[in-house]
Amino acid sequence: MSGNVLQEYLEGKIDFAGQKLVDDIVRIWLIAATAISFVAGFALQSLLVTFSILGLSTVALLVVVIPPWPMFNRHPVKWLPVAETKKSK
């Protein structure tokens, strides 16, 4: 029996390969969103366009990254089997 179900939901654990993937996604997504929003706003001469593109892409990033999707859990940690304790009684 794993622990508290609510606690697991709130923790949203992902494995190490998934963490690296999330790290890359966040960095590339935010830099690209900043660049695209600046170029689009400058071309259309509207600050509203700039900040709405930035805001919407941030919300989209939150949807992609925050919940522990199965694609981040594809390489779970392989734990070794439980070793026999060699203590003599």
Partner: protein
Amino acid sequence: MHSIFTRVNNISAFLPSCTMALLACIALSSFLFTADPKGNLSISPVRAFPSKTNRYPRRKQEMGFVNFNISADLTSLFHWKTKQLFLYLEAEYQNTQGILCVNNTVVVWDRIVRRKEDAVINFAGKNKYAFREISSSFKKVPSSHYSLKYNVMPYVGVLTYGEAARTAEAVDFVWEEHV
């Protein structure tokens, strides 16, 4: 990144850095906009009346009344970063009373323009603010020059100033005894 909290923490730390870089780029983009619009300004001779101000009722003060016509097309100053445009009409004159010749600059009218559609100015009117000389009299002032200046106020960036129109020749003062 192992838990939801750390992922939120990471994003909320990187996003303000990206936003600050974006704002810096927006502020720097102001150097690409060099617009210098010009307009027309015509002033009829300024009439100076002896009158009293509300604050110092016993003091003999002369007030100047300026009637002017302004026409200018300032739409080229509105770009994506412009929040509003502050226009002001300045009177510059020299007071030759005493030993030194003192330069004076008085703002007699101003207007705030918030939209590009309102940036075409065709205005005929009189001064909004009291035009009075500190030494209470305009008698020693030979003539005055008027200039329409603007100040571009951006959402983020540096304030820029410019001059849109100037009177070519000096405007004389006409003294009246009573209203």
